[in-house]
Every structure is written in structure tokens, then in C-alpha cells.
């Protein structure tokens, strides 16, 4: 396979880059090792659109964080991804931490963050009555937002796909080197060739960088973060994202509402060797629960519906590495995209796509199709809207996921999207089916059946998340014939 541009990595950054490159006259492919986009760090992070007070002024992180955060509301509206702006607080529980709150304030002002204020105990408690009354002061950041990182990634991918980007999933890049028209790639789907390569491989990005640029090696230390996710509640326990005063390992454990009204506790921050090792551990979960209790003394884990872990791609020099790969003309990269990577993704993509277009004389297409419109989710519809939609499409009359109120029509639509769902988890990310309190106990057999129908595969071939993650090992008739395992 030969392409003008190959993007490696289907996370939020890769998909955002793909979307913007789809504006230009070029034959673009995106390669993703997993069975879906957003299967790495983009599906397992805090989902915060950071205001931009954390990063040191003058760094790329600071610049792109603030730019990215400003782009979010319009971008999410444009591609139809969830976004909310509940605001955030960074809490100080001792007078000694006040200096740090002040530093964050000063950094934020220097970075151009709007509306920051240092507020005192009484105001904190009036805004967030469930916060620990031992709180001393807090930095209030009203522009802090939240999004659904995996839904955003899927939406960016869809717009890229309708504008011609070829999404090759289950395609892991083993190696990349100069050759042919530009670069030669060895992948699990055979050799490929491209004039331009763009490395957006997240936790794996240093490996590809080092193949392209052996004279200046980069190191990524995978830093695992574990979370608790609690069921949605009305009213919310906290209306804003509640941070604690940060440490050198990161922003500490937050307690935050999600865009769907769930409550998220986490993450831990533990350096690990294996960038794909996203198992949870008893130790880290306990650490998260204990740390979150400092913010939320009334913490109740009764509402926990799941726990999960994600990996941050921590580059040892500490800043984002974005742009042309040194000594490798036509190769570009985004390395070390850890927090505030999700926030910065739109700005990273804009910066990189403009650079690629300019340096390679790409011309804009006459027409760039908008992101495909999707129906509003059934769970978010008013009664009147529900009446109307079921009249129009009876598939909305069958509720498949009762916890999150997801209908059969929506599951079929998710599978038929431009970058469509092909696994149980991919359906979950696009529709929320299985995302609720029963965790797919009731709906997974039905989702499996719909996937099998839509994809034209046997039910035993349906997987949870690609590879060998099949749910079923055979029919009972076969099992009976074999007379046992």
C-alpha cells in the first residue's frame, strides 16, 4: 500500500491530525494497532479540558493547553462531541499550600488563563458543600471544562473518514525507516509506503521516534493512572472538577463530574515498564480512595460501577515534542503527549497540520465535508423528541441498554458510522451501552447479536476489544459433541 501521508496512532491526537489533514489534497491513511480508535490513553483519562494554569509559562505545554482549551467549545459543537464547562478548583488544605496556590494563579495569568481567582473557605463551601471543611483556600478556574475523550476521538475520526482518510485498524507498525518515496513501514498488515509519516503513537511514540532519529533518542516512561468511576447521581456530588495541590508526579487525585453526570475519582501516578499494562491494582486503588477522601470526606464507594487504568506517555524531558523529526525530512511527530494532552490536542493538530501543509505544499480541497450529524442520544431527548423519533424510526422503540437508555437504532447507527464500532467496547464508547451500573450484564448478549448481524460474522467471532477477546468459545452443540474441554 502506498499513500501520500500515513498517520501512526488513532488516539485523540492522531484523529485530530487526520481530521485537519483531510482538508488537503492528499491520500491519507491512519494506522492503529488496536481494533478501534481511542483504545489507548484516549479512552482512559480524566476527560478534563484544563484551563491552563499548571504548565510552566514558556513551555509548549502551556501554550498549547491554553490554545486548545479555547478551541474546545467550538470544536465539540462542530463535530458533535460532549463538552461542558463546570469550572475547577485546586484545593489547599494547609496554610503552607497557599504559596503553591498563588504560584498556580501567577502561572495561569502568565499563560493567559481568564477568570482565575483565589477564593477562601467560606466561598468554597458555598459553591461545593460536599468538600472537606478543613479546606483553607482554593484556586478557582471557571474556564476549566470536561469532555468525553473517547467520544471526541470517534467524532474526529468520523469527519476525517468522510473526507477520505483511510482508517486501518488492527494495523500495528513494527518499524519505520527512510526509503522508497519517503518512508517504508513494516506493519502487521504488511509493508506500506508513504511520502510523509506522522507519528502520533502515544505511549509508543518514542520507539518510532528513535527509529527515525537515532542520533537524538527520546525516552517515554509509561505512567499509569487508576480510577474509580461512580454511577451518575442527581444532584451531582460535586459540580466542579476538584483538584488537590499538585505534586511532582502530576496533578494529584481529582474528584470530578463527567459529562454524563458520573463521578470520577483518580488518577494514581505510578511509573511502569510496560506501556500496555493497564491492569488495576489493589494498592493504587486504595491510594486513590484515600486521597480522594481528603477532598470528599463523605466519600462513598457504594456507587462504584467500574475501575480502570490508563497510561500517560511521560517524556523524560517534561515537555511535548511536536513538529518535524530532526534529520528525517517528511517525518513529523507528537511525542510525550501526557496531560494536558487531551486539552491541547486540537491546538497540537492545528500546529502540526499547518506545518505539514506548508512544508509539503499541500493545497486545500475545494470542499471539506462537515462532521456527519448524529441524532441526539435517546437518553438526552425530551418526551416530545422521544415520541417523534420512535414514529420516524421504530428501532428507537427497543431499549437495549436499560441503565443508560440506549436503543437498538443507536447501536446499529454506531456500527454504521464512518469509523464504525466493530467490538462490544467500541459500541460502548459510541453509545454508552454497557457503560452503566450493570456493566453490560443485561445488554451485552443483545449488543453481541446486533454486532454479529450488522458485521455479518458469527456470534463467536464478536470480540470485546479485538484480537482474541471473544466472548463466546463455541455453541453448546459443539461442546456436547466434543464431550468436554
Amino acid at each position: 500500500m502506498k499513500k501520500d501521508i500515513i498517520i501512526i496512532g488513532g488516539g485523540v491526537v492522531g484523529c485530530a491530525v487526520a481530521r485537519l489533514l483531510s482538508r488537503y489534497e492528499a491520500d491519507v491513511a491512519l494506522l492503529e494497532g488496536a481494533s478501534d480508535v481511542a483504545e489507548g490513553a484516549s479512552k482512559a483519562n480524566s476527560g478534563i479540558v484544563h484551563a491552563g494554569f499548571d504548565a510552566k509559562p514558556g513551555t509548549l505545554k502551556a501554550k498549547l493547553n491554553v490554545e486548545g482549551a479555547r478551541m474546545y467549545p467550538a470544536l465539540c459543537a462542530e463535530v458533535d462531541a460532549p463538552y461542558g464547562q463546570p469550572g475547577a478548583m485546586v484545593l489547599a488544605f494547609a496554610e503552607e499550600e497557599r504559596a503553591h496556590i498563588r504560584t498556580l494563579y501567577d502561572q495561569g495569568v502568565a499563560n493567559g488563563v481568564e477568570g482565575l481567582r483565589v477564593i477562601e473557605r467560606e466561598e468554597i463551601l458555598s459553591l461545593e458543600p460536599n468538600v472537606n471543611p478543613d479546606v483553607v483556600c482554593a484556586l478557582l478556574a471557571p474556564t476549566s471544562g470536561i469532555t468525553s475523550p473517547y467520544e471526541l476521538t470517534c467524532a474526529l475520526a468520523d469527519q476525517a473518514a468522510v473526507n477520505g482518510v483511510d482508517f486501518l485498524l488492527d494495523t500495528f507498525v513494527q518499524s519505520v525507516r527512510a526509503g522508497g518515496a519517503g518512508y517504508l513501514l513494516e506493519t502487521t498488515r504488511g509493508p506500506m509506503e508513504a511520502r510523509i509519516v506522522v507519528n502520533c503513537a502515544g505511549v509508543d511514540s518514542a520507539r518510532l521516534h528513535n527509529q527515525l532519529c537515532p542520533q537524538k533518542l527520546l525516552t517515554i516512561i509509561p505512567r499509569k493512572g487508576e480510577y474509580y468511576l461512580l454511577d451518575h447521581t442527581k444532584p451531582l456530588v460535586f459540580s466542579m472538577t476538584m483538584f488537590q495541590t499538585p505534586t511532582k508526579m502530576g496533578k494529584g487525585v481529582l474528584v470530578s463530574p463527567t459529562v454524563h453526570g458520573n463521578l470520577l475519582l483518580g488518577p494514581s501516578a505510578i511509573d511502569v515498564e510496560d506501556g500496555t499494562a493497564v491492569e488495576t491494582t489493589a494498592e493504587a486503588l486504595k491510594l486513590v480512595a484515600d486521597a480522594a477522601r481528603k477532598t470528599w470526606p463523605g466519600e462513598s464507594l457504594r456507587g462504584v460501577i467500574t475501575t480502570f487504568a490508563g497510561i500517560r506517555a511521560h517524556e523524560t524531558n517534561g515537555d511535548f515534542v511536536i513538529g518535524a523529526v530532526e534529520g528525517a525530512p517528511g517525518a513529523y511527530e507528537t511525542v510525550g503527549i501526557e496531560s494536558p494532552g487531551l486539552t491541547s490536542a486540537p491546538a497540537i493538530a492545528q500546529m502540526l497540520a499547518e506545518q505539514i501543509a506548508k512544508e509539503n505544499n499541500l493545497s486545500e480541497k475545494a470542499e471539506w465535508k462537515p462532521a456527519p450529524r448524529r441524532e441526539k442520544p435517546f437518553y438526552a431527548m425530551t418526551l416530545e423528541e422521544r415520541v417523534a423519533i420512535v414514529q420516524k424510526d421504530p428501532g428507537y422503540g427497543t431499549l437495549v441498554c436499560r441503565c443508560e437508555e440506549v436503543t437498538e437504532a443507536e447501536i446499529r447507527a454506531a456500527i454504521r458510522r464512518p469509523v464504525g464500532a466493530r467490538t462490544i467496547d467500541a459500541v460502548k464508547r459510541r453509545t454508552r451501552a454497557g457503560m452503566g451500573r450493570c456493566q453490560g450484564g443485561f445488554c451485552s448478549p443483545r449488543v453481541l447479536e446486533i454486532l454479529s448481524e450488522e458485521l455479518g460474522i458469527d456470534p463467536t467471532e464478536v470480540t470485546k476489544c479485538g484480537g482474541d477477546s471473544r466472548l463466546l468459545v463455541g455453541t453448546i452443540a459443539e461442546a456436547a459433541r466434543k464431550g468436554g474441554a
Binding site: 489493589a282 415520541v387 428501532g395 427497543t398 431499549l399 448478549p445 463455541g474 455453541t475 461442546a479
Partner: protein, 427 residues
């Protein structure tokens, strides 16, 4: 507020029953037999019968029918009666909302969104299984981890095998039943692991589903790690101390491709909570009086949505009462009187009902159900009216795995002082 157009679509129903499992069907039969003509049952699945449809093992009906039936056979008796009585049941219809004024919205493929105003509502939505996520068991999120009931559905209703080498966490009845079912289907069940020092399943299931097949029951053990990138490759099991914390050095590894969870059932009360019904944190069901009426007038609850039962026979018995009470309510025959609180004392968890009506007219006997908080041998069950003991019963064995019950006689109800009534276990 409803638009004019939608208001015109609202259908009035005397008694609306949510769920056509054993609870909903019994409530419907009782309401119709009590003379309610305008009666409607809404069921989200495409068939009546609820979870019984996938319980193809026998052991159902011993109390109610004095014979041993399979789940589908038991359900069929009620289905036949529902049909015989001409009760309207709308299957494939999911209730979307219920409010305290008994306004209900539902949706189905063939009828679209449907709006109802009900004279009385019987909540009979059943329960769901506690998932792995709620346990926060460490490890990967691979395929091959199922709740036992989901696996049961795959095997018994869909005809697929979810795995070949199985560990079962939790000794709830569905887990025990699935240990046998998977074994009969050719899978190797390596162990049934139970956190508590006793099983929460029925003794007959431990004998017939584990012991008969030489499947070890590991009490005071739990799964501490789940391994496997894509499909489950193994689990680590460890013994726990009396605070239920894993004891280092007791870890044991099992190579397996399937982990089935039978770690508790949770009444499915989202609609009850929407309706503003007062809930019990102990049963996780509604707080009800002895006619099974919730804190919202005209809204009744029965079966596993009220509290998780061990036997369907008792679900049916309770639900007949709820259906009759809903009929009485819409027919203006509801009893009047003063409420007296019924509370858990030592050794008792989750009494149902939580309120006794001391009626103005003639009193009726009241059946009280609860779970013992621990295992007690040769214990005494007591009912206290304030400080006064009004009932005492010897019990050879009490265990949390088997629901306990006692009956207060009409004369005992009539003589209640008005103080809180407490049920307790005395050693």
C-alpha cells in the same frame, strides 16, 4: 408539563404492573381475580416469564405447587393463567419513567412512546446482578469475565458456551447452578470461591451443584487478581482474614478462560427512585407496609425488586398480596389505621415490611421476612413490642443464605401498643 397533543394520548389504567416475571404475573392474576378489569402489564423482554425463562434447572414450585418444576415450567403456569384471564400484557415495552403521581411513560417498537396514568402501580422489575466493576477486583478488563446470569443466558437461551475452564466467584445460587450447568456442558469448573465463611446459596444447591461434581467450595477466599490481555488467562485466589482482607502467602493461581461472578443481586429500583419512593438501604428495595404499599400512595412493590428472595414460590406469594392490595386500593377498599414501625434488632437485617398497619377494623395476620445477619445455631427469634416480648420461636439454624420468616397473628397486631416493633435473634 405535557403538550396538549401528548395529553390527549394519555391512557388511563386502573392497575399498571411493571414487569411480567413471576412477581408481575402473580400481581396481575391477583388484581384481575379481585375484579380489576382495566389492567395492564408492561414487560421489556419479548416474552413473559422474566429470569425463569433461562433457569432450565428444576427445584421450582415445591412450596406453591408441591411438585418440582423447571423455571420455564413454573413460569408457564402463570403465563397460562394470565392468558386465561385475558390480561393485556405488552411485551417488548420498556418503562422509561414513573412519577409519584403515577404518570408513566413507556416505549416499544410497535406502539412507540406510550403514556399512562394509573390508579395504582405495582413495581415488579426484579433485580440485577452485581457486576465485576462494583467489586473493584484488581486486574485487567479482558473478555471472559461474566456475571453468572449473563453466562446462563448465553448457554440456556442463546446456545453458546462462554468458556471452557471456569472459576466461579461467589456462591450465590446462580453461580452454583452455573457450576453444574457448565460442567454438564463439558467445561471444567475449577473452584467456587466465596469471600464469606459461609455460602449465600441454598444448601441443596451446594450439595447438588458442587459436591456431586467434586467442585471445591473455597470459603473465606476471594479473587485478588484477574489476568489476560484479550481473553482471560487466569485468576489469583487468596484466603481472607476475618476483616475480609487477603492474607499474604495464601495466593493460589488458576489457569482459566472464564470467571463467573455470583456476588449478589441488587433490586432494580431506578424507576422506584424516580417515583420518589422511600428506599431501605438494607434491602435496597422500597420501604413498604404490610399491604406492600410504598411510601407513595397507590404504588406497591413485590418480588425481587422489593427484596431479593431465595425461592420464586415466595415471590409469587408476596406478589399475589401486592396485586390484591393494588386492587383494593383502586376499589376504595384500602384499610385505614395507624402505622407502627417494624425494625431490625440484633442479628436481623432488612425486615419486610418495615411498617405495620394497626387497622381501625379487623386485623389480619402479617408475614414478616428478613435475613439473619450471621449464622446462628439453636437460636431464638423474638418480636418485641417496645420492651414487651410478643413472640418467641426456636430456630435450629439461621443463615444469611436463607430468608427467615415469621407470622404475626391478627390478635397480636390488634394488641400492638404503638411503640416500635423489633425483630431480633437471641442466642
Amino acid at each position: 408539563m405535557l403538550s396538549q397533543e401528548l395529553r390527549g394520548q394519555v391512557q388511563y389504567v386502573d392497575v399498571l404492573i411493571i414487569g411480567a416475571g413471576p412477581a408481575g404475573m402473580a400481581a396481575a392474576i391477583a388484581a384481575r381475580e379481585a375484579g380489576v378489569e382495566n389492567l395492564l402489564v408492561l414487560e421489556r423482554e419479548n416474552d413473559m416469564g422474566g429470569i425463569l425463562r433461562q433457569c432450565i434447572h428444576n427445584g421450582f414450585g415445591l412450596h406453591r405447587f408441591k411438585e418440582e418444576l423447571t423455571g420455564p415450567e413454573y413460569a408457564q403456569r402463570d403465563i397460562d393463567r394470565v392468558k386465561e384471564l385475558g390480561i393485556e400484557v405488552r411485551c417488548g415495552t420498556t418503562v422509561l419513567s414513573v412519577d409519584g403521581e403515577r404518570f408513566v411513560t413507556a416505549v416499544s417498537r410497535d406502539r412507540g412512546v406510550q403514556l399512562f396514568e394509573a390508579g395504582a402501580i405495582v413495581l415488579a422489575m426484579g433485580c440485577r446482578e452485581r457486576p465485576r466493576g462494583a467489586l473493584a477486583t484488581p486486574g485487567t478488563r479482558c473478555a471472559g469475565v461474566f456475571s453468572a446470569g449473563t453466562a446462563q443466558k448465553f448457554v440456556n437461551l442463546e446456545g453458546y458456551m462462554p468458556g471452557k475452564r471456569v472459576v466461579i466467584l461467589g456462591s450465590g445460587d446462580i453461580g452454583l447452578i452455573m457450576a453444574r450447568r457448565m460442567t454438564l456442558q463439558g467445561a471444567k469448573v475449577l473452584a467456587c470461591v466465596e469471600l464469606m465463611p459461609y455460602s449465600s446459596g441454598l444448601n441443596r444447591n451446594i450439595v447438588q451443584c458442587l459436591q456431586d461434581y467434586d467442585i471445591p467450595l473455597m470459603l473465606s477466599h476471594t479473587v485478588i487478581d484477574i489476568q489476560g490481555r484479550e481473553r482471560l488467562s487466569g485468576v489469583t485466589v487468596a484466603q481472607v482474614d476475618d476483616r475480609r482482607q487477603p492474607i499474604p502467602g495464601t495466593e493460589k493461581h488458576f489457569d482459566c478462560d472464564t470467571l463467573l461472578l455470583s456476588v449478589g443481586l441488587i433490586p432494580e429500583n431506578e424507576l422506584s427512585q424516580q417515583a420518589g419512593v422511600e428506599m431501605s438501604p438494607l434491602t435496597q428495595g422500597a420501604v413498604v407496609d404490610d399491604s406492600l404499599q410504598t411510601s407513595k400512595e397507590g404504588i406497591f412493590a413485590c418480588g425481587n425488586v422489593l427484596h431479593v428472595h431465595d425461592l420464586v414460590d415466595f415471590v409469587s406469594a408476596e406478589s399475589f398480596k401486592a396485586g390484591k392490595a393494588a386492587a383494593d386500593y383502586v376499589q376504595g377498599k384500602a384499610r385505614k389505621g395507624a402505622y407502627i414501625a417494624l425494625k431490625d434488632g440484633d442479628g436481623v437485617r432488612g425486615v419486610v415490611p418495615q411498617r405495620l398497619l394497626k387497622p381501625e377494623g379487623e386485623a389480619q395476620s402479617v408475614q414478616v421476612m428478613f435475613r439473619p445477619a450471621g449464622v446462628y445455631e439453636n437460636a431464638t427469634l423474638c418480636v418485641m413490642d417496645g420492651d414487651r416480648e410478643i413472640l418467641r420461636q426456636r430456630k435450629r439454624i439461621l443463615t444469611p443464605g436463607e430468608m427467615a420468616e415469621l407470622t404475626l397473628k391478627p390478635e397480636q397486631i390488634a394488641a400492638l401498643s404503638g411503640a416500635d416493633v423489633t425483630v431480633c435473634v437471641k442466642q
